[in-house]
Each structure stands twice: as C-alpha cells, then as structure tokens.
Amino acid sequence: MKPFEPVIVAFCCHYCAYTAADMAGSQRRCYPPNVRIVRVPCSGKVDTIHILKAFEKGADGIYVAGCLDGDCHFKNGNIRASRRVASVKGLLDEIGIGGERLEMVKISAGMGDRFADIAEQMTEKIRKLGPNPIHAARTAA
C-alpha cells in the first residue's frame, strides 16, 4: 500500500503569501509538493463555502495564508479571514472532519523561508492526522 500523501490546499493572498511562495522559489527552498496553492486577491476573500468545497472534493488539510497583522492591502481582510477560519473550524468539528485540519497563517511577501516552513509543518501535521474522513468514506462507498 502506498504511504498516505495528504492533499493540502493553501489559499494564498496575492499581496503576501503568494509572493512569499515565489520568494521561496527564488531562494531555492524546497517545500512539499502536497501543497496546492490557490491565489486569492485577499485572504478575506476566502469564504466558508470555498473551504467546505475543497474538503468535499478531497482536500486533507487547508490553510488560509494572509498578511501580517496591520499589513492587509485592503485594511482588515486578514483579520476577517482569521475570524472566519475560527468559525469554520467549529463547523468542521460539527461535521466530523475536525477543525484541526484548517489553519490560518500570516506571512509577509518577503518571508520565503516561513512559507516553506509552514508548508512543511502543515504537511507533517496532516500526514499524522491521516486522510480526510469524507474522502475516505467516499472512496470506500
């Protein structure tokens, strides 16, 4: 049996985390290929339904990456994203997926190393948690 390789979706703000991913590349930093990046205009744009649909379609873990506190290009999108992520974590617990599969992280555009570190940490965390139970149930059905 193949070892479990999680699928991780990273919703990355165009102004910070997405650029940080570029920076990680420029720095020749490797990070796990498990992470699929979705560029968004602001972390505040990421809605509950985007997160749920990603889990529904088989993501094992998700993180929303926004700007550092006070640095949001749209003033407070990252703060809204943090609140939304906290609320969706509760909903994921209710569903039975587990809120720990979702995280909010904050990165500046220059933090290439931090981007790669987070990608590694998140991949390792989800690898330990195992597959998304929804995806597992669907595959079994």
Binding site: I49, L52, F55, E56, I95, G96, I97, I134, A137, A140
Partner: protein
C-alpha cells in the same frame, strides 16, 4: 427584520436522517440579511450535511433552492416543480416560511434549520439586537423612539426600576437600561415633561394576550 440563527448541525442531521433526498430551501429576505438562511447559508449547510452523512456512509442528495420570499404563497408555489423529487424539505427561513411551505405541501415533512429569534436591527456588522415585540399598540411616539416593551427586561411602562445602574440593566452590564435611554433621548429633544406623564396599564390583547393575530385589509383582501 426577523433574525434567526442556524440550529446545531447535530439537530438538523437528526431531522433529515430518515430521508435520502432533501430539498433545502432558503429565503432571500430577513434571514439573508442576518446571514442565517440565504443562498450562501443554503450552500454551506448543503455541503456540511452531505459531508456529515458521507462520513457515515450515506449519500444524501440535497437540492438547493432559495426563494425570493418564503412567507408568501406566490413564491412558495415555485417549489411545486421540485417537491416530488424530495423526500423532505429543510427550510432555512424563519418560522413563517417553514409554516408556509408546510401548509402548501401537506404530504411532505418540513423541518426548520434555523431558530427564529427576534425582530431586531443591526447594531454593527455581525451584531443584531432585539428592537420590537410586535405588541400591536406602538408606544414609540411617547417614549422618544425607544421601545420599553422590547428593550426593558421587565417591560416597564414607567421606568426605570431600581435595577438600573450607570445606564445599564441589572440583568447584565452589556444590556442598556431602556428607560435610561428613553430619558436621555427625551432630554435631548427637550421633552422632559413627557416623562412626567404616567403611561396607563397596557391593553395586552393587541399583542399575544389576545391569541394568534390576523390583519384583514378590506381594501386588499379577496
């Protein structure tokens, strides 16, 4: 507007567990504005329910539809083309909408997905507060535009009571004393004299005291 909050997922799951095909119906009016049961919340609940059931090995079919207004028969009629494809209806509208769907489609079980809470106004983004209890005999004209029925914990007509401290109600430091607000407003309007006039005991028959109410407009009713 009428405000509502989604019920705990566990309770909703228990309602729909016996069924395989659900029609999940939202409403574009009040529950959309208070982010409880509009198109967006319908999408979220649909996804959440499908995943929760899939985890238990069941493939729940959910048809999503959001009506312009779920408390009017004209709009509820829209569901007639899709009702046969569902074993049960789950409504995200207020209690009025749930009952209208139940009245129109008598042979379908209808369940509420939200708890209808109160008639209120938005204080700021994401915060709603009770403002009206629909007593049927509005007092706002003599209380400076602040309702003692909805906003005074004791519904006092001649307040405040001894529990008012620094403008707050004794039930919680987060609750304003309605009568303090009324006094402050009357003072700002130069209407202090109005405060001296005793408001007589209220006739509660215009409210729920008279049983379920109905409005019949002779000029409009058919």
């Amino acid at each position: 507007m009428i405000t509502a909050e989604r019920k705990p997922l566990e309770e909703i799951i228990a309602y729909v567990r016996p069924f395989d095909r659900i029609l999940l119906v939202g409403c574009n009016e009040c529950v959309t504005v208070c982010a409880a049961g509009g198109r967006k919340e319908v999408g979220i609940l649909s996804s959440a329910l499908q995943m929760a059931f899939l985890k238990q090995g069941k493939n729940l079919q959910v048809k999503e539809h959001t009506l312009e207004r779920q408390c009017d028969p004209e709009y509820v009629e829209e569901l007639s083309s899709m009702i046969d494809g569902a074993d049960a209806v789950l409504s995200m509208a207020c209690g009025c909408g749930v009952q209208e769907v139940a009245r129109r489609y008598r042979d379908k079980p209808v369940f509420p997905a939200v708890n209808t809470t109160f008639m209120g106004a938005s204080e700021r983004q994401g915060v709603w507060a009770e403002r009206c209890q629909g007593c049927g005999d509005c007092l706002l004209g003599i209380t400076g535009g602040i309702c003692p029925i909805a906003r005074c914990s004791k519904q006092l007509l001649n307040g405040p009571c001894g529990g008012s401290t620094h403008g707050k109600c004794e039930i919680s430091p987060d609750v304003d004393c309605a009568w303090q607000l009324i006094w402050d407003r009357l003072k700002a309007l130069g209407l202090e004299n109005r405060y001296e006039e005793i408001i007589p005991a209220k006739d509660w028959r215009t409210g729920r005291g008279g049983g379920p109410r109905k409005i019949i407009r002779e000029d409009l009713a058919e």
